[in-house]
Subunit: 693 residues, 2 copies
């Protein structure tokens, strides 16, 4: 957790003199290299591959055509796409988990459906076989999954249970007589749902079910959620196998290159060896064993593999935000609308409101990108085994649960603002923003609902605050927090005092200068997280002696505050990653501009939560006023660098593929201006009626 | 302007005792009647018509199929839909402008594409002939437009000029020799663009062009933007007529039932009588005449007819928000997820965060609905001629320019939150929310870009503040405001003093009580608008003596603040409409619940802008804390009434057509719970592994 661990502070830049700003130059190539992060060659290679037209989305395809195309693209990637990097060498991989995801994120340029369909096949289906299975499972199932000889579904979610996997209804009952598991759907709400590859293309699925054993003469025992490899369709006829049924989920709000669907099982039998048996196994006689004694910890370990998907969505959200901003800012630098004071029409990016709408989103996109690189590094540390402990796993899961909601919601907000900033042109499918937004929409709720994930983060923050409890239900969290609530005053004091010195300064110019300082921004952001967590902890105190229903009600009353605290934590994490990244920038001009971008991000966070800082006495009213005026100043300072800042994302036209960002608008504006210039020069311009009076 | 005119205050309800809340009953039928507003029978009739399956959107149709279907639906409406109400009796209408729009809004249930295609045909194309033409124009063109014998485009927007109609490049040059206008597109940026009916179906267009005359021997005179009736396609072959060209805009982010397209004109000739000549005419010899001497006022009068579209979009945004909330809240009352303190799974709507996300949006939707009814009444007052003066027209235009951005942005936010609140089910096209959101997206930028409209409102607020200037460019507004800036102190004092008494009260319980009071809410909202406008006025003061470029730069520096002031004004207008509507509620229980909804709306606004109230000393930190806790209390008070509040919108299943809001989820949950209940009763339930130790 980064909340309480200050990182090295890069030297603060000098208080800039606006008259000197003109001399500041951003080195686009240098910044582009910084942004390529830990896997520059892999990313550049993936981007080169993504210029292949065969991989590009064709807007306006029917559901059937789009699904068919994406399946074909999957086979192209299987052959040419280095998509097995995370798997062992004997399966054609390189045991490179971080590089695997870095390449995956770059699929977003081509078509988010391709990213997600690939995620279903390799990131979920094949990875479940790999991570939840043993060598036995790998030998049986992995090769066909990796080559897409078997397109597979990841059958975890049920119609009746979305993010609450622990409550799924599907059962897998072991029969010692036949040495088979009987997979069964007991009621409609237990149908598997929203599964990619289940609607049409999948011939097998990794099915999550409650493993039931019936020791001789004893009642059945529920060993909790386990994963099973289950063939579902005849690969020749593509008909469902006996006992398997399903439905196509049909058209969705986006991602229509993926054939989501539903599955149900009517006493479907699979051999004992189809249990993916890394974290739990059943002997031929029905004896259950597991390397993890606690069913709860076993469940969370099983689900831990899901973190890969969340890391990948975080990266895709950053990519999509960058695409949208590159299109909108490029267009905004060419498009003119309404006359300004000089009689000439004004370039959109010169309007203060246009800058105010786009540039803070650009700053946040930079922050999300740097945070994502840190997440990717943490992911690789754990999954490579270099630093794989229960603690680092949990830190990774918490980090992913904090960043995925933040970046996916940010992407939706950013793409929508970009769409509107491009007006009617932004609404045309050819300019791609609406399609990206439609596709990214579901990123906010799949692979863990954003609000549910933020609650997990909030509980972890409470855990850190109250020390000593993890993965607990509402009642237990409330109780344990309550035990520590009396520490709250001590917990808050030092930071609070530190900030008093900030808020006591009267001179507004000096105030703005202080807000620019790294330590001030950090102190403001850290203090907010810690105070909010402590307040929730305090509020949960009476739960200690309450009955379960009362304790749950009390926890519910704090749900909103807890989610807000988790959001604040995620924002702080992004800010810390951005700040740490500044140290990697060596070119002085680039570092100056990027420090302004970081300041804009930090101050935007403070402005967003300004009421909190005022209510809690962390900023005086006078200081609060300087936040907004300093943001205004940063925005106009950054305006000349806006194009460079999006160019550094490194997209070519083959990635953007948006006519309005191709230079066509500039050509149209130039032609119109030349026309009127020539008309004036020839003396042939019509006289406005009002000049004839 | 409602800013400074307090309306009658309905009696404040008593401070409720939560223990008595259980007795409060909402009369759904009574509330539904109140919500039907000024045109209950017309709305109910339109809703009955909208149960006709032929008018329903079929999700997943191709572009071609969807366009074809909507054109067919247009012809059904022409025959059966009472869509000519706003036109004179001799054209089958009833001169009923408000009723015309009220019915139009109800088309949104069936398919927003149908609403907008109808809007293009009757609200823009036929209405332009009617409002901008004279009897001569009506006789020539109106009947075929109304019957859809001639599907028509409204060719105003150009590729190079969106909301800035004054700068369009298309010309219409009068030739006395032939008594013809020559319509011409001088460069690519002057192509007409985004025009409904231009892509495929239109055989004529009302084309906006700069009217040029060339008096004998004198230079050409530009009389500004006028509208011309121009045939564009051969109705038999559907080929473009000679000199006319165009392109299909192709697939869009939504509204794909409409064939948007581009048009250009290469010296296309139309007879002199094709000028829609109400506000400007050209005699056979080329002499120009107009009943409006000022070209500026003539331009804004010509554009004034556009207000109808904005009123209609405001209504559609309300309808779409109501649809989304009805679906999400109905589902949220049936769906269960995660176990609560009692071991039973919790209904989504019982989660505090779920309530916090949906109920303030519900309150804002109520406010937007009441404000829309007031807008509709103002529109009917003006367009019926009952109260048609330059002042009432301008008030109407300002009101529409304030409400359309507010309600369309609200609809997008609401639909997105509803989508997420329904999880994966919300992403399925069959549940309609994603489709509605995609369609409504462009409502934020067409018929006047939201940000541009809010700027117009802001300028009007400055006008009222500075008195005596209207429709001025940035430079003039800055100068004129500056002249009045010295009044600012006087302007602000009384309200500021009134509010001091509010903020000086220390007892938090009494504070919450005061925030509940209508007058307190009004004072807080009014004060904010007035102060923000005055501050912008003050800031623009130096523009008085500045050169045009400096004055424009100064105005630009205040653009964000001006847009924010306009937003605050629009929110106040909505709040006033809601408050006025409470007086129309006669049933005491309904009035009580609706007053809580109004309070929730008012307090949500105060919370949204809490930093402003704190920075400006309008609320103390202690008082500010009570805002949030009072919102929490209101939200839990309203939770038991949430279903009634959406049921009162009056939609039937034939309007909702969303499987998740059909009761299917309740049936699934009931089946699952019955299954587990039976299992427990039979003693056959598996024993959790952890209980076997």
């Amino acid at each position: 957790m980064t909340t309480t661990t200050p990182r090295p502070t890069p030297a603060d830049t000098e208080q800039g003199d606006p008259r000197l700003d003109a001399d500041v130059r951003l080195d686009v190539d240098h910044l582009a290299r910084v942004l390529l992060g830990h896997y520059p060659e892999l990313r550049l290679g993936a981007r080169r591959l993504m210029t292949d037209e065969r991989l590009h989305r064709i807007e306006g395809q029917t559901l059937a055509e789009h699904r068919d195309r994406v399946l074909g693209q999957l086979r192209i990637l299987a052959a040419e796409g280095d998509v097995h990097r995370s798997f062992p060498a004997r399966f054609g991989g390189a045991d490179d988990h971080g590089g695997f995801l870095a390449r995956f994120e770059e699929l977003t340029h081509a078509d988010p459906s391709l990213q997600i369909k690939s995620g279903v096949q390799w990131g979920l289906f094949a990875s479940a076989i790999y991570h939840l299975g043993t060598e036995r499972s790998h030998d049986q199932f992995l090769r066909d999954a990796l080559t897409v000889a078997v397109p597979g579904a990841f059958a975890m979610t049920e119609t009746g249970h979305g993010s609450d996997v622990a409550s799924i209804g599907t059962t897998a009952t072991y029969e010692p007589e036949t040495e088979e598991f009987v997979i069964h759907t007991p009621f409609r709400a237990a149908w598997k749902d929203y599964l990619g590859n289940a609607g049409l293309h999948g011939t097998a699925a990794v099915v999550f079910a409650r493993l039931l054993t019936a020791p001789a003469g004893a009642p059945r025992v529920d060993h909790g959620v386990h994963a099973f490899y289950v063939p579902i369709r005849n690969p020749q006829t593509m008909e469902f196998l006996p006992g398997v049924g399903g439905e196509d989920d049909g058209l969705k709000g986006g991602l229509n290159g993926i054939d989501n669907g539903r599955l149900w099982f009517d006493h479907v039998r699979v051999p004992r060896t189809h249990l993916l048996n890394r974290y739990g196994d059943v002997a031929a006689d029905g004896t259950y064993s597991s390397p993890i004694a606690s069913p709860g910890r076993r469940f969370f370990t099983t689900l831990g593999t899901l973190v890969q998907g969340r890391v990948s969505l975080d990266g895709a959200a950053v990519t999509a935000s960058r695409l949208g901003l590159t299109i909108a800012i490029t267009y905004g630098n060419q498009r003119r609308q309404f006359q300004g004071g000089t009689g000439d029409e004004v370039v959109l990016m010169d309007y203060a409101e246009h800058q105010r709408r786009l540039l803070p989103l650009l700053a946040e996109t930079y922050a999300a990108g740097f945070a994502h690189e840190d997440l990717l590094a943490a992911f690789d540390d754990v999954f490579s085994g270099r630093n794989d402990t229960p603690d680092t796993r949990e830190d990774l899961e918490t980090l992913a649960a904090a960043l995925k909601p933040t970046s996916t919601w940010h992407a939706l907000r950013t793409l929508q603002t970009c769409r509107e900033a491009c007006g009617g042109a932004g609404f045309l499918a050819e300019n791609r923003i609406t399609g990206l937004r439609a596709d990214l929409d579901v990123y906010a709720t799949f692979e863990g609902d954003n609000t549910v994930l933020l609650q997990l983060v909030g509980k972890r923050l409470l855990t850190d605050y109250a020390k000593g409890f993890k993965h607990l239900d509402a009642v237990k969290v409330a109780r344990l927090v309550a035990e520590r609530a009396s520490d709250a005053a001590r917990f808050r004091t030092p930071l609070h005092r530190a900030l008093q010195t900030v808020s006591d300064v009267g001179d507004p110019r000096r105030s703005a200068g202080q807000l620019r300082e790294t330590d001030t921004q950090r102190a403001l952001l850290v203090d907010r997280v810690e105070t909010m967590v402590a307040e929730v902890g305090q509020a949960l105190r009476p739960a200690q002696k309450a009955d379960p229903a009362t304790a749950a009600a009390l926890f519910n009353s704090q749900q909103h505050a807890l989610v807000e605290a988790a959001r604040a934590h995620a924002e702080l994490v992004q800010w810390e990653s951005f700040t740490a990244a500044l140290a990697r920038v060596t070119d002085p001009g680039t570092k100056q501009v990027l420090t302004w971008v970081r300041d804009l991000f930090g101050l935007t966070l403070v402005e967003r939560h300004l009421a909190w800082y005022l209510v809690n006495g962390r900023l005086s009213a006078g200081r609060a006023r300087t936040v907004t005026s300093y943001i205004d100043r940063l925005v106009s300072r950054l305006r000349p660098h806006a194009q460079d800042l999006v160019d550094a994302f490194g997209f070519e036209q083959a990635h953007l593929r948006a006519p309005i960002a191709s230079g066509a608008e500039q050509a149209r504006q130039d032609e119109a201006r030349a026309y009127y210039r020539a008309q004036r020069a020839s003396g042939d311009a019509p006289i406005p009626e009002k000049h004839t009076r």
